[in-house]
Symmetry: C2
């Protein structure tokens, strides 16, 4: 028998076993573990959809309940390890190999399981890399995905959080894989088809709605005056002179502050229609006032954000909305858009070293990369030009290329008092203890173009040596040990040469850097700005009550 017909026969045998459990494509929730035992074989490469936001949690639990005598040595390939069940499959001996991208909530436990040999990691990826490998050499034999609704033919409606689902389904369905979808509801007619039933073998109605987290919501009440000051500097030192129109913001209070002062500070500087017109971004609630002020022409989305559904649906001129009236997001395409259609990425970090490398890694935790590195790097495959990209390239002394702006916003000290600027990143210790070939650096120093602290802006594009770059970083590091190692004279000389810019150099009176500039000061203000369409999740509604 040829490899080809062997593979085909194997798929047919699995489907035949499953046919005894399912009714057509529908599998009852209480038979899910049986279904998985029928379609998965020992040694299989298997994917559980674990996105940044939504989770195929019921399928993850069903797999974790499988009999390790029947299912073992699985190779898990999945974006995010977010749930205890994602690690339970290793602890129970069902799986032993892992390729992944992000393990935020399970990072400490994962490190333990790697240390004691329960989990063998292939590699740690960014999201886009993991999808790429799912298409090439980490193709899944079985993919467990998640959607809002299905019909009896297996057609899926993902709802606004389309996220990774289409890419995972495509990777499996076209490699002879078997695709199982957990859905909240089986309906006769879907609002729209996001994934064709031809790509889906089985549908399981989950006993309760799938887990999803509002990861991108930042309460304006928690934005502090330091955030406002840094946001003003970002706009005055970067958005305005570089004419940044197409951009991506990371998560955090620093970028939330920028979003909240676009209609005040940026508008006062005459920047409406001239900067920040096109975002690649999840529907951050803090973006509502800027959208309502007409500042924003378009937002292309990785995923959605809980509570933003009605507001987003009401602005099809801004968000990617289908004829059915709901958002279609797409993490793969948004990552591509972030990399190739944006002239700037603005992020935040925990630690920056003397080379400008930054990392969120800490010892004893294996967190992975997520998506930020793809956006926080100069895409050397880019060829189209823009005024922003050309100016950045010229400042860097490039004669044949432009540069993407990669901006890191970080207060000199973290909220817990730890200095953000360090001589050596914790990532180096983590790599040594975990046996990684390289330290997990989120954004490399030679990709970073600007670092903003509450003290000032360091323009690394204008630095012509590693020594100069280090000096520019020390100049904005304030009273950290890292900053105090440099003489004020050296910092002043960088300032005279335009490498370091202080608030006063930008015409910013720091006394005006207050919360008064925020167009929304509370979650409730965001609800009001949205015309009542934004419906904050419970944990933020609680904040409203506390605040009031």
């Amino acid at each position: 028998m040829s490899a080809t017909s062997r593979e085909g026969a194997d798929r047919a045998a699995r489907l035949a076993r499953a046919a005894k459990i399912s009714s057509g494509k529908l599998c009852p929730a209480d038979r899910t573990t049986d279904l998985l035992e029928a379609i998965i074989a020992p040694g299989d490469r298997v994917t559980i959809e674990g996105d940044n936001q939504k989770q195929a949690d019921f399928l993850a639990a069903a797999l974790a309940k499988a009999d390790p005598a029947r299912l073992h040595d699985l190779h898990m390939v999945q974006s995010v390890l977010a749930l205890p069940d994602h690690l339970a499959v290793f602890e129970r001996g069902i799986a032993n190999r892992l390729d992944f991208a992000f393990a935020g909530p399970q990072s400490r436990k994962l490190a333990e399981l790697v240390t004691n040999g329960t989990v063998k990691i292939g590699a740690i990826h960014t999201y886009l890399e993991l999808y790429a490998r799912m298409l090439v050499d980490l193709t899944p034999r079985v993919a467990m995905i998640v959607a809002d609704k299905a019909d009896r033919n297996g057609n899926l409606y993902t709802g606004p959080n389309t996220e990774d689902t289409p890419t995972i389904a495509e990777a499996a369905a076209f490699r002879g894989g078997i695709v199982v979808a957990q859905v909240n509801e089986i309906v006769d007619r879907l609002p729209r088809v996001d994934i064709s039933g031809d790509w889906v073998d089985f549908v399981v109605p989950g006993p309760k709605p799938y887990a999803i987290e509002p990861l991108f919501t930042r309460d304006p009440a928690k934005v502090r005056s330091e955030n406002v000051l840094m946001a003003m500097m970002a706009i005055a030192a970067i958005y305005e002179p570089y004419q940044v129109r197409r951009l991506n913001h990371g998560i955090g209070y620093a970028t939330a502050a920028i979003e909240l002062i676009l209609p005040t500070f940026a508008a006062q500087r005459g920047l409406k229609g001239r900067v920040a017109s096109h975002f690649v971004l999840n529907p951050h609630p803090t973006l509502i006032p800027a959208i309502e002020a007409g500042f924003v022409d378009g937002v292309y989305c990785f995923g959605s954000e809980l509570g933003m559904e009605r507001y987003v649906a009401a602005r099809p001129d801004v968000f990617p909305i289908g004829a059915d009236g709901s958002l279609r997001s797409n993490r793969t395409l948004a990552q591509v858009a972030g990399q190739y259609a944006c002239d700037m990425f603005v992020g935040a970090t925990l630690q920056i070293d003397a080379s400008g490398n930054s990392s969120t890694a800490t010892k004893g935790r294996i967190t992975g990369f997520g998506g930020a590195p793809n956006m926080g790097a100069d895409p050397r495959g880019r060829r189209h030009d823009s005024p922003t990209w050309l100016r950045a390239g010229r400042e860097a002394g490039e004669s044949l290329r432009g540069r993407k702006l990669i901006v890191q916003m970080v207060q000199t000290h973290q909220p817990n008092g730890a200095p953000s600027f360090v001589e050596r990143l914790d990532a180096f210790d983590l790599a040594a203890s975990a046996g990684f070939a390289l330290p997990p650096i989120m954004v490399y120093g030679d990709d970073v173009t600007h670092v903003i602290t509450e003290k000032g802006v360091a323009n690394l594009l204008r630095c012509r040596s590693t020594q100069e770059r280090e000096a520019a970083l020390r100049a904005v590091a304030g009273d950290t040990e890292f900053g105090k190692r440099q003489s004020p004279d050296r910092s002043e000389s960088l300032r005279r040469r335009g490498i370091v810019t202080l608030p006063c150099d930008l015409g910013i009176d720091i006394r005006t850097a207050t919360r008064d500039l925020l167009t929304a000061k509370t979650i409730d203000d965001l609800v009001t700005a949205s015309g009542g369409l934004y419906a904050p999740p419970a944990k933020f509604r609680l904040a409203v009550i506390t605040h009031a």
Copy 2:
């Protein structure tokens, strides 16, 4: 009226006008120009699907026949300008602005139209950049796409050449755009649904099958012994020591020769199962012998290749095949896979300069970039490691990153006798005459890791200065003026340091570098190797006859 409801009303008005022309979603071919005049408005951003391979040629012709008094000032956003009708819309005054990626066959004419002011170019992109911008700021109001079959609900089956269609449809359908598909056939039941009918507004049955070109087929009869020699060097100097498993090949006889000697030369070196196991590549016919020899585990495809349909369908263990039994390709995802899942890109070029920059640009032609730059660049957003990537990084002296291998294969002289190595690229003159901000460089010298000529291999990773890199290039430039400027002593010193490698250093007896190593010497041999499944297009069958 709010912007939102204005936009919605506008779409509704366009669809209402179109309803008088179409019957449901079906529009008769002879009313296509009327349909386009009904759904397009002056000033619209409009996309005609013009892929690397297939073309929405009937829709392009229908648009070119529109009345310029009704349709004018259109902004065309399209991957490829391949057909005269793609420029006719500009000559007839229907469109005046253009954002694109590649204009091979129309490159000279495009340059003329830019010079005389008929076409105003926004920017020249790679494919992936253009798709990214279609999602962000160049969102199309009307998208004209192409597929094999449709049903009456507008569901589309693209067939093996799925290519760009899903991405273009998604970009338009979720921005309130109107999507029109040209198809070869309307059927009651599709083999599979590639694009949901929810994303498609109108379907036009074309009067004849859409245009498609076998761009990736190289006749083994035209592979010369120099190509074989260079292929042997590539395998011995790069594939073997770097253990390259995941890779992408450009188009040309150089890479065709590599594909054809995997089962002979590479197998003799014991490399089966150790190198070239996973490709991101169109189904090159010259890959058939290596697949049949069990050398290749998987091929992920940008598009398909004419004549390869039956062979590809018979190898679902290697190619991405749906449950319906036919290939599903995806140019966007393959570009991502080429960038992030591959450890190596091997390409060919027309000219290389002293910095290692290469270009296929010539004066008087605006060809654009296509897809190669995204793969021919070090993806600095990559974070997962592999033995190949880590070794390349170490050789480059990187302590914190790996490197992607970017290999350029080029004979010292082009077939027309022109030297391939030059002090200055023609791209610089083109940029000056066309008014580009930067010269159109396909692969930048600082991204290139190896250059292979018939004289030897220059390993640029080991060069520690621009002078050393230049010397390494001159050492393999043979008897070109560029090569002769360097003393043999200087080249010999680079050889002693392992920067330059000659065939004899690799254990290659150049007398063995003959066509005898090719596992297929003719198109007919490829047909035989495929078990009769490969059906070469007419122009290659003619070659068979000529050869016989």
